[in-house]
Structure formats: structure tokens, C-alpha cells
Symmetry: D2
Subunit: 350 residues, 4 copies
């Protein structure tokens, strides 16, 4: 019988949002995790049982404002704050404290690109070079040594788990990659917005952020690294009337002499021993409902009708592998714990 | 005050399916329509109020089997039968009877292509040349003279309303067209199938028919006609947890010197006077919920990040403009009625 | 052929909410309605095509603030303002202007009861006696003569269409009436509230306002009038993950010697000639999906297991018969138009 | 550190249905469970990864037909077969094999009542007296000694967790109990039925089985036992457009001198140390979404408007506490394992 893992004193900054709640759902069953501190802004002081009644059966700290946190009580911090506010908070943390940041603040290495897409100068540019991009399966060594991990966006996670290995192996062309993505609504957060009311979402689908979604530079950066040269990328996200789940349909051009079956075999080979990435058999279309609530990514590959083209479909739960699950996976790696610790939930279907 | 339109004695073959019910919803408010005959197979003899309780407030004929129909009582027939069985039924109709066929049976002009995609020889090849493809806005003259109109598939309708004018005007290239489509579940019909149970659909999304959906040859045929040469087409449909609605996201390559704004202006020009096709303003993303229950198609155009590329998004209600509404629109044209007669419903939102 | 009805110049106060939009959906197809003025507060000046894109195909006035309305341009006003603000607005209207008020402000005749449930004194008590409670089928004569009609709440409409006739005929006891109601989310309005976000509603059900929902005094008032003595009433509403629809399951005690079949027959007799109320056959359970988008109410009656008890189930669309449809029905009666004018939509299923 | 529990070799009969899949989801994370045998009828021989793709990441036996099972390989059997077929299967099992039966076959002790409600004679009446009704919290001692546990129905579980203690303590009257229940669609099973297609369920609600649902005799039996005399019960289930979840709204009459607060305190007292039953604070309405995927039951109590009446609301996940979770809870008790083993999932919200 294995020894119990050492305990880790954890803080979750931004515990009143959906990714915060999802971190708690998973950490409550993580054998090494001690949830010591939660923060919230407007809801500071309110018991978690009121903020998230599904957590009522559990003993959880009442959220405090960030200013009130005694950092010396913590070994590890998850930062689930809104984009933009994060960088100042992290810049002020004790240097020994390890962090996974779920926001976009440290995903872009290039200060100018950050400023272009986010409309303001970065507030902690000195930390940007330190930050490691935490697409765990593809950057495990980097994550292991990191103090600050930038947790990937949900769309980039689903899209790049298949794309990066295919680009690295020169099996697809870096040009003409078209990413048509579909997400559940929890990705839009818990803030009260008319556009996300039930009657505005239910029984309908629409694209949003067409041509200018902020996950695009993140993918351009990482895919360029994999390809060794710039990639040409089209990315269009859609909003689907479901709580969780993200399906990414990617249209790629095959390198000379390569077939769709070659892609599938390469991905199978790459991910054979990965606990969280599964290449589904030929002819099977991944579905988000089969990864709901789990940290899995399902990947399918199909030949397309036009010559030298293929379709790659990947499915994740945007709140788990697309956010909080991958964040904990990164924590496990950073702390030398078994990577699957606390992440072995079976998908909830139906 | 306008004169009442002359009355038309109508038969609906296949009244127990969703497109049959939708024909009835619309025809019950069509001032010229007299619904005289309904047919059903397994449910023949059962009152419509039991088959479709939402129609209970209305006087409707009880469905009979097709063999029992006295065709001399009818002026017009809508054929909403399953693909494959339709062709034999239509071949036996009196030659003077006008027909809109909602199945795929007469959409393909090429007997060999039909046999390739449907797996059997066509049973009424002599009627294939007569059949007119009824994408109304783009073939009004053909429809006007037709005796037999092949009503387009839902995906082809949404995809080709923008694509055909753009190809005709040489504004986009015929190669590299990628159609990523998303549909509600009513398109899958009312037959009891495990895959379409509520728990199998709700809270999830998946692609289906990847690389081999039967709407593909229909689009290849019509787009080739518009382009004057073969087109290269990728088409992937997805199933969305909603009853109605179809969103088609199409990635196109711009012809030399053409911009996305040019596409939008060309489509605005083309559809300026069309009652059912609306090009939405720049920056607005069409949403299926805004055409729910109506015969409208909303079209949006966006510049894409890669050079010389654009994104065209179109939204319809798959049961209305994608099926029964367009069928009645075609009937109106075939009979010389005002084209919008009976089709002026405002979309039902929320 | 009937003569066209005379035209009515209409103002809709509060056009940016769901009941306002639903009024417009229906009025756009009402042959006598001229939509002349729309009002909104925060969204005044914004085109309706932006506020409600499903109305984009239609020419509609841009909303103005209430202060800017020239009342002399109007023959009729629908007031779809929030509860509480309505009474001051209506008090200031020209006395000749006929009004249907969709808020709760004029539903309660008793000033003290109003103050108890709404927490403040009524601002226009002099109008309260004038206001006629507009449950059309049961108060047609009153509505016909009214200048100001208080349109019933959605729950009271569905609950009382069966209950009032049964109490009037002494077929059920006035004690022990239990009303368990289930509503779609559009009833909660279009204001941005966290509790009504898609992820907070989807895939779940809960009761709300248990023991103190504001529709209760309205039902107590009207049922007491029908029974001729106080009634004992329990009312619990629930929130269901759907846009539209309201199902009311009412548990009643039968008067001595009365059976559930007697109830059904009495209701059939009562509503035989009513265009919008349908008593479904024995054994059939009404479903909200069969009245979606229509002004119909379906009523079913069942014997219950305990002696002398029955279950009455009624289904409406909360935005149509439960709000805007009934409001237009009342307008038709007030103006001497055919009662069904503009309300003949067939339910949208699926 | 606790010793690992001894391993139990388990068979799941009926692994192709939703309750079967849910047993597997939970057993895959149960530290003592070895899933040795699965059965299915029509899908025997098909890998579980095809029957339930969400289970694809796990090694599971391929289902066989029941006739092919070597019972000597098993220590414990879950029987998730359709009602009616179960009794013959269980009658043929080796006598030493412990069983939790999730069907209704052994819930009724009275052979005559069974025959009345199920329309045929029971096929294993000799086993009926042996079967223990497994509402775990209320019959723990019985379950501990049982060889055959009849797992309660989902509605009875949610309804009786509050009702039985209240009747035992004479806090409510045995007459006039009205149970208005609302369930997600997974309770209807995975068989292909038109009535359960997505478009037939989505965006609507309806009652079903009004006055004659088969869970009624089960509740009458158990509540009579608790009350010590016959109870008068009304029970009406409704179908809600959601996958999982069951909300039961129960209207009760208070015993003389008792208040709603007394009920709440009695239930808090009763369930204080129960891991899976939580009485929520006054004023809070339980919601199914807060127990989704977990074995918890949330109970709320409210004073009602009529004198001496109260409303009790309970929420469970119909597939977990209402079926497979409670079945495993019963197994744990039968085998002397810690009762929460394998059942500590946090609810999945949103």
C-alpha cells in the first residue's frame, strides 16, 4: 500500500467563480490537499455553503479578501482571478510560494503581443519569462521545475493536445489550420450578464469573438514553437446551450504523403501511456458528454473529402482539463506527486 | 383590400414526422390552404390530436395510408416521406399533380452520384431531369415552372444562400471551402432511436457523419453549377442540444483583391429585396434563436485572421427555412401566390 | 370576406423586457395594430434590432423614455413595466387612453393587502377600484367596459381557469387547495441576475418563494370571490430549465358526491366554445410544450387515490396566455374586435 | 493510515442501462470493488467502451448473457434488470451470494399488492419475506443482516427520508400527504422510446402516471409501517428537461401543536450524524443541481400559509441516492465496510 502523500497547504484565490468551485470539488478529494485559504472580493465573509450550496456538506474556510491572506500559512496557491488583476497579485506573492495561475496573464511571453491583445501594458513583465506554459502532457519537464505555471486556456488545451505533436512531427502543414470550437456556458463565468441568462442561451447557438478571441495569440505562440515557424490560424468559438464541455473541430492540411491514419497512429503513439489523453478508434466521433466532469481529453481523426486534408476532433470538459483539473495536474507535477492524484473521477454520464 | 387567394386542396404525405407537423403548423395559417389529406404508415387511423397534441385545437383529417388516397381530391402534394421510399410514391402520382418533395430523392441530378451515396439505383430516374432544385431565392424562375420541386436539405439551404451568390460573382475561390455546421435535434426525425434520447443529447455536443454526410453531394452539385467548375468542399455537421436551429460557419478564401466587406456588400445587394434573407450588420454574429420558428435566414460576414480569408455565418430554423417553410415558399411560387403567404411568423424568442 | 378591423395606434411601455418583446411578436401580426411608440429606460435610443435581434426584420419605432411620449398619438397602451413603477405612470396617463397593465400593480383591490405584500403604500389608490381583473374568459363583460385592465399573473391564469368555475359550481371545497406550479425561466425577466444564468438553471429544478410568492394574494382574492367565502390555499412555484411554459398541478377536495369525471365535464361544458381553453380527454396529461408560443390553455382532470380528491393540471405558455397573449386578448375585447384577432398562432412544437 | 478494505468480486447484471453505468462509475473508484462480471442481453459481447464511451478509459469486462455467468466467481451481485425479469434471475442465484436488487421486484412484501400493481403473479414469492427494504439511513440494522436488499425507488427515497421520521415521531398526520415529484429523464431508462427523444422532452414539462405510478404502493407500505396505521397519500410525478435529479415537494398536515420549525429540528436531530442527508437552513430551498452526481439528499422545511400545514422539499440525484449510490451504500453495510466507501464524490456543479 502506498504511503500517503505529504500534505500541501493550499490557497485558492477567486473561490467564488466556477473555476474556483471546480478546484474545490477536486481538491476536496485530493489526498494531499489541505484547503487553508479561500479569497473572494464582493462575497468575502460569506460562507461557502451560501456561495456554492453544492459544497455545503464540506468544511471549507470562509473566503477573505486577498489583503487579509497570511501567505506564510500556504505552500501552494491557485490563482483563479479575472484576467488583468492577476498579475499584480502574483507579483506581490512571497517568492517561495508556488503558483498555478488559471488566468491568461502569464500565458503570453511577448510583452508587446500581450499589450496588443489585452489593451494595456503588463504589470509584472519581470515574471513573464519565469512563467511556464502548463499544457502538462507536452511540457512536463518545464512544469516540474516551475515556480509559476500559466495554466492554458480551455480552447488552446483542446486544440493543441493534437496539433502540437502533429506539427512537431511535420505531419501537417503550418498553414491553413482552421479551428472551429464549441463551448459550454460555464466558460463565460459566473458574473451576472444578460447575454448569459438561461433564455438567452437555451435553444440556440451562435459564434462569438469571431476573428479576435484572446485565445488566438496563445495558440499562435505555442503552435509556432512546435512548427518552428509561424503558423496561419483561423479560430472561431461558438456558445452551445450546455453547462460544460468543449468540442474543437480542427481542419488541417496533410504534409506530403501523409494520411489521416498516419495522424491517428502518431497521436496514439504519443499518448499511449498518458492517463488523461485518449485517441478514440477510427470512425468514432468524440463527444463532450463522455468527458463531463473528468480530466480526460478524447481525440478523433478523420480523413476529409478534399485531397490532403483531415479533420481532428478533440473533446474536453472546459472546467476540468480546460481549467481546474489541469491546474491540479500541474500542481501534482510541480510538487512531485503522482500526476493523477485527485484526478481520477470517472466522467458523469448522463 | 386584397382579394383572398384561391384555395388549394393539399395533401401532406408523411404527416407523423416533425417536418410533416411543421407543414401543418404553417398551412393551418395559410389563407389559401385547405388541408384535405394526411398520410401516415404505422399511425394511420390515429387522430392527429394524439400524434401531435399541439395540433389538438384544430380540425385536421385523420391520416390514412398512402394507398387509400384519392388523388383526384388534391391540387398539391407535400411529400415528407423518408428518403428512398419517396421516389416510388411520386412516380405513381397523377401527372398533373404538383409536388414539393422534402426528401433527398430528387435533389441529385446524376443517377450515378445518387447510387453512390444512397447505395441503390434510383427507382424513378425518368423524373430526375424534371425535378427542380428549390432553393427559392436562387431559382425562382425554375421553381415557378416546375411540376416537381426537390426541396433542399437544411444544411445546403443555410450554406448555399451565401455561397452561391459569392461563387457566381467570383468573389471567393471554389477551392478550400470548409463548412462547419451545427444543428438542433429535430433534424434527426421522430423515430425512436437510443442515440436521440434526451440524456444522450442534453449537455453535450458531437460531430456526426464526419466526411460522408449525404448533404455533401447535393452541395457539390449546386456549388459546381454556381462556380462553373468543380469545388473542393469540406463539410462536417454537429449535433447541438436544442430542438430547432441550424448554424453554418463557412470558411472561405477570398478572390484576389476582394475583402470580407466586399462579400457582405455583395450579399446585401443580392438579398436587399428578399423578405426571408437578411444580412446582419458588420460585427454581429447571427444566432439560431433569432430565427426560431420563422422562415428567415440571417447571414453575417467576418474578416478572418489569415490573409485572403473570410468567415460567413448563416442561421436558419432547420424545420422552417430548412424544410417546411421553404417547401411552402416553393408552393407559393409554383401556384403564383404571393411568396410570403402563410410564412410571416415572427421568430419565437425566447 | 370580413372587413379589415379599424386600426389602433398602440404604445408598449417597457419594450425591452420579455413580455414587451412578446407583445411585439404578436402585435406585428395583429391586423388592427399600429405599433406607434415603444419605451425603455436604460436602452432608450437603441434600435429594437439591437435590443431584440429576432425583431430585426421588422420596422419598429426606436424606444424612447416614458417622459418623451406624446400620448395624444396613441389609442391604446400596454404597460409592461416592473411592479411598483407602473402605478405612477398609469396615474399620469390621459383619462381617455385605454390600458392593459401587465404588472401586478392593479390586481389587488384591497389597499391594505397590497401594502402588506408589496411593502409600500399604493401610489394610485384612486385607480384601484376602476381596474378590472382581466382573466378574459371569466370576466369578459367586465373587461369589455374597462378603461384599465389588470392583466392576471401567469400562475393565477393557469391555476384559476379551472378553479374558478369549479368553485362557482360548488364542485370542489374551498379548503385544502394545493397549487404546485412549475415555470420556465422567461418569467423571471431579462435583468442580469446571477441566479438566472444558464449554468445556474440548466440541469436542475428548485422551488422558490416558498410560502410567500406574490401571486398568492391575487389568487386568494379571486378564488374567494368565486367561492363566496375565504379559501385555504397553498401555492409553491418551481423553476424549470426551459424558456417558456407553465404547468400547474392542483390538488383539490371534491364536494360531497362529486367525482373527477364531474369536474372534467363541468369544465368541458364551461369551455366548449372558448377558442383558447381546451379540456383534454380523460387520461391525457397536459404538457407545456403543446401550448408553446400559443395563447391556449390545456386542462386535464384526474381522480386521485385518496377519497374525494382530484388532480387538475393546466398548461400555458407563461409569456402568451400568461402575459402578452392574454393582454392582447383583453385589448381585443376592450375595443370590440374579434377576441382571437392576432392570437391564432399554432403552438411551436418541437 | 487505514488498512485497505478486503476486495469484493462483483457482478453487475444489466450493465447496459443508466443505473448499470452509474454503478460502474462509482464502483470503479470503490477501493474494495473488483468488477468481475457484467451482463447485458441485446448488447452482450459488445465492449463497454462502445456501449458507454465515457467508460472507455477503464478496463471493464465485456458483458455476457446472464446464462453465461459463473456465479462462483462472485461475492456480490447488483441486479439492475428491468422490473419483472429480475425475480426469476434472483431466484436462481446461489443462496450464499449477496444481492442488491435495484428493480421493484422485491420492494413489496404483499404478494397480492404486487400482483395488483404489476399485473402478474410474483415468480419468487418465497424470496419476498427475505428481502429487506434498503432505505439505508432508516433500516441500517435490517440491511446489515440481509442477503437480499430491495433498493428503494428514486421517488420513495427522496420522499420518505423526511416523511418516515416525521411519522414515527407523530409530528405530522398520516392523512392528506401530497407528494408532488419532479424527475430528470434518466429515470426513464435507456430504451429507445419516442416519448423520451430530446425534442419530446426539451423545453417542456408534464405530469405522467397520474394517480397510478408504481412507486405509490411502495410508499404506502413503508409509510404505513412508520405511522403504525394506513396513510392517505397522493403522488404525482413530473418529467423535467434535465438528465439527473429529483425534487420532491411534499405537503403535510402538522400534528396538533407542532410547527414547521419543529419538523426541521426533528429532521436535523435525526440526520445530524448522517453523511449523506443534510437538512438545509430555514429559508433555503433545496435544488437538484446541488446534489448532482453525489449520494446526498438535501431536505428543506417551510411553514405553509394554511394553518397546521408545512411543505417539505427533498432533492436527490435519481441515479445516485435514488438508485446506484444507495445500492452501493447498502452493499457497504451488508459487507461491513465503512458506509461512505466509494461514495464521497462532491456534487458536480455547474
Amino acid at each position: 500500500m502506498p504511503t500517503a502523500p505529504p500534505s500541501v497547504r493550499i490557497g485558492v484565490l477567486g473561490a467564488s467563480g466556477y473555476t474556483g468551485a471546480e478546484l474545490l470539488r477536486l481538491l476536496l478529494r485530493h489526498p494531499a490537499a489541505q484547503i487553508r485559504v479561500l479569497t473572494a472580493e464582493r462575497q468575502a465573509g460569506k460562507p461557502m455553503a451560501e456561495i456554492f450550496p453544492h459544497l455545503a456538506p464540506f468544511d471549507l474556510p470562509t473566503p477573505v479578501k486577498i489583503e487579509a491572506v497570511d501567505w506564510s500559512q500556504l505552500d501552494f496557491v491557485f490563482c483563479a482571478l479575472p484576467h488583468g488583476t492577476t498579475q499584480e497579485v502574483i507579483a506581490r506573492l512571497p517568492h517561495g510560494l508556488k503558483v498555478v495561475d488559471l488566468s491568461a496573464d502569464f500565458r503570453l511571453h511577448d510583452t508587446a503581443v500581450y499589450a496588443e491583445w489585452y489593451g494595456h501594458e503588463h504589470q509584472a513583465p519581470e515574471l513573464q519569462p519565469q512563467a511556464v506554459y502548463g499544457l502538462t502532457e507536452l511540457n512536463r519537464l518545464g512544469v516540474r521545475k516551475a515556480r509559476l505555471v500559466a495554466n492554458p486556456g480551455c480552447y488552446p488545451t483542446a486544440a493543441m493536445l493534437p496539433l502540437i505533436p502533429l506539427l512537431l512531427d511535420n505531419l501537417i502543414e503550418p498553414g491553413g489550420i482552421i479551428i472551429d470550437a464549441k463551448s459550454g456556458v460555464s466558460g463565460a463565468g459566473r458574473d451576472a450578464k444578460q447575454a448569459n441568462l438561461f433564455p438567452e442561451i437555451s435553444e440556440g447557438i451562435n459564434a462569438y469573438g469571431v476573428g479576435h478571441h484572446r485565445h488566438m495569440p496563445e495558440m499562435e505562440q505555442e503552435l509556432r514553437l512546435a512548427a518552428g515557424r509561424p503558423v496561419s490560424l483561423s479560430f472561431t468559438p461558438h456558445l452551445v446551450p450546455m453547462n460544460r464541455g468543449e468540442l474543437v473541430t480542427t481542419y488541417v492540411r496533410l504534409a506530403d504523403g501523409v494520411t489521416a491514419d498516419d495522424l491517428r497512429q502518431a497521436l496514439e503513439q504519443k499518448y499511449r501511456n498518458e492517463p488523461f489523453v485518449k485517441v478514440v478508434p477510427a470512425g468514432v466521433a468524440p463527444a463532450t458528454r463522455h468527458v463531463r466532469g473528468s480530466n480526460h481529453c478524447h481525440i478523433g481523426v478523420f480523413a476529409d473529402r478534399p485531397v490532403r486534408s483531415a479533420i481532428v476532433i478533440s473533446a474536453i470538459d472546459n472546467l476540468v482539463k480546460g481549467a481546474s483539473g489541469q491546474a491540479i495536474q500541474n500542481m501534482n507535477v510541480m510538487l512531485g506527486l503522482a500526476e493523477t492524484t485527485g484526478l481520477e473521477q470517472v466522467a458523469l454520464f448522463p
